[in-house]
């Protein structure tokens, strides 16, 4: 099959591309960023997904499947850009897909869609609405992109749409929201809170996407890996140390003392868990994660050891 991947030059995009090539597919990539050591046989287009040349890629290559991974978080882009990329980009993908006969679109979304709060349940199921928009406005564009992609299920019935709400990734590329959060030697924790964190190895992200393509999955699905672990365990197992901050001082401490910079809304995600139930996805695709939590944390630790001074 011919598969177009948007955001292919990102760490996860590359792994997904390799996995799909390995599975015998023809892969076309779109990204603003370059991928110098892209493998042979991969057709790479350095264009912005929202630009006219991107439409031409759809027109000339005529992919059967699109894997849309060109979304960004608050870590990468400021809010206005983010809205343009996440919403404008997602809209462009679906419009081009409808116009140029794409059969299947896979939207790689995030499990933070559900939001974290003191009264949100563990193990969210796909039918739940997003609940943390008010406390974490930096997530609003991703939530909107998720719902917009989901609306393709009824707007564009001729296209099979898969919306995946994937948990954090953790592995040797060190890419992703969680990996960036625990990158430094000290990881901030709010005194008296130790939420569960759910993550999966990047190899399993690729597996899940490949399976979605293979099974022509239709609908909205949570995707997770091994069982979640408390933040304190994650910090210890990745060789970091917890930096305990009282809640009132949390905002002020972020970005100082070698701690990561976080938007104010992220506080709720350091206090409360976002944990999803991926039983439906496992049942529909036969997916099983291949890397457990111990191994994922070990690989991250080895790829990003803490330099002792």
């Amino acid at each position: 099959m011919k598969i177009l991947i948007t955001g292919i030059s990102g760490a996860t995009g590359r792994i997904v591309a390799m996995k799909l090539l390995e599975a015998g597919h023809e892969v076309v990539g779109i990204d603003r960023r370059s991928w110098p050591e892209a493998p042979e046989g991969l057709e790479m287009h350095r264009v912005d997904i929202r630009s006219r040349p991107a439409e031409d890629v759809f027109r000339t290559t005529r992919p059967q499947v699109v894997v849309h991974m060109a979304t960004v978080t608050h870590l990468v882009a400021r809010s206005e850009d983010r809205y343009r990329i996440n919403l404008g980009g997602t809209r462009a993908v679906f419009e081009h897909a409808a116009r140029y006969g794409v059969e299947h679109v896979v939207f790689a979304g995030r499990h933070t869609y559900y939001g974290a709060g003191p009264d949100t349940p563990l193990y969210h199921t796909e039918d739940e609405p997003p609940m943390a928009m008010t406390t974490f406005p930096e997530l609003a564009d991703l939530v909107a992109a998720d719902l917009y992609a989901g609306s393709a299920l009824w707007r564009l019935p001729e296209i099979t749409t898969t919306v995946l709400r994937m948990v954090y990734t953790l592995g040797p590329t060190g890419h992703g929201t969680l990996a960036s959060f625990v990158r430094g030697p000290w990881v901030p924790m709010v005194i008296g809170f130790d939420p569960l964190f759910q993550f999966m190895h990047e190899r399993d992200v690729a597996r899940a996407i490949e399976l979605s393509v293979r099974t022509r999955l239709r609908g909205v699905y949570n995707v997770a890996g091994p069982q979640p672990v408390p933040l304190s365990v994650l910090i210890r197992q990745t060789g970091r140390r917890a930096f305990w901050v009282p809640e009132f001082a949390f905002r002020g401490a972020m970005g100082r003392f070698g701690l990561p910079k976080l938007p104010p809304g992220a506080l709720s995600h350091v206090k409360h868990p976002v944990v999803v139930d991926d039983a439906a996805f496992r049942k529909a695709t036969g997916y099983e994660h291949s890397v457990d939590e111990v191994e994922a944390m070990r690989q991250y630790r080895e790829a990003f050891p803490v330099v002792s001074r």
């Binding site: 009264d119 349940p121 563990l122 709010v190 008296g192 809170f193 408390p230 365990v233």
Partner: protein, 308 residues
């Protein structure tokens, strides 16, 4: 860590039928290490301070989903803690009872973290259903926060029951084991509930006791488990059907409370008969908390008659 954990607790933790990961944490964040410390801390209270008497623990199934449903007794969570302790210390093999805690606790530092490590999840229907589907032992107090707010004089009464628990039991096909908890009202004799103070600390209210340091008194506590009750159905029945079932559970609990109360009063009068005059005077002063004689024997049921 192991220095502070009693060997018995350690052995019992190992026998809990909970799937742990390699860090000794289960999928809900329950932690073996925290359970070990928690049960070691609670053991002297369970065995000596309150010398809890647990009756009928054999009615609780050894494995699989089950809902423990009982009355609130005492203004702070002694009842829940001692039910959990009785399932851990008196049940063979031990089981971890998992309660549904008040939402406000999850906003508080430490309370939020510890409740999760001990398996006490926020009181949400999603949590209750998931735990039962996962073959856990769920502990439910259908009286809710109004039940913990009961004053000393109402300690043998039941307030209005919610109905959600019966629907959930039917939907998940879980047996309901009713239990009666006695003595919590005497151990922590609430004379008033301060709502304003509660608002200041982020709780619905703060119970006030008639002595200076608000710690529970060393009163003998009892928990009696009754025979399991099964309801056939889907849980989608009309309210009129469900409320009949709720009443059945409520009556089972009220009957056990009444029986336990007579037992306790018997015990008290026998003990009083053997006391010296001086001891009687001291106790008389403490017992002046008792309600007016006429009120004392109101039946355990029907404090809020509109409940059914």
């Amino acid at each position: 860590m192991s220095l502070f954990v009693s060997p018995e607790v350690k052995g019992r933790i190992e026998r809990l039928e909970i799937p742990w990961n390699r860090f000794g944490v289960d999928r809900y964040g329950v932690s073996k290490k925290h359970l070990a410390l928690g049960f070691t801390a609670i053991e002297p209270f369970y065995r000596h301070y309150f010398s809890v008497k647990a009756l009928g623990v054999e009615h609780v199934p050894r494995h699989g989903r089950c809902m423990l449903v009982g009355n609130h007794s005492g203004g702070i969570a002694i009842d829940g803690a001692m039910v959990i302790a009785s399932m851990f210390f008196a049940k063979e093999p031990p089981r971890l009872a998992q309660g549904m805690i008040e939402k406000f606790l999850n906003r508080m530092p430490f309370a939020s973290m510890l409740s999760s490590r001990f398996g006490q999840l926020t009181g949400l229907p999603e949590h209750a259903e998931r735990l039962l589907e996962d073959e856990r032992l769920l502990m439910v107090f259908p009286e809710g926060a109004k039940g913990t707010a009961k004053l000393y004089k109402d300690r043998y009464s039941l307030v209005r029951f919610g109905t959600g628990f019966v629907r959930l039991a039917m939907k998940t096909k879980s047996p309901i084991v009713p239990f009666a908890f006695l003595g919590g009202g005497a151990a922590f004799p609430t004379v008033a509930n301060a709502e304003l103070l509660g608002r200041l600390v982020g709780a619905p209210y703060v119970p006030i006791v008639p002595y200076l340091v608000p710690v529970p008194l060393p009163v003998r506590l009892e928990v009696e488990y009754g025979e399991p009750i099964y309801f056939e159905g889907t849980g989608a029945e009309s309210d009129s059907v469900i409320s009949g079932y709720v009443e059945e559970v409520r009556t089972a609990i009220a009957t056990m409370i009444e029986r336990g109360r007579e037992r306790r009063e018997d015990f008290a009068s026998r003990t009083l008969a053997n006391l010296s005059e001086g001891e009687k005077r001291v106790i008389g002063r403490a017992v002046s908390l008792e309600p007016e004689p006429g009120h004392g024997h109101a039946r355990a049921t029907d404090r809020e008659g509109g409940a059914s």
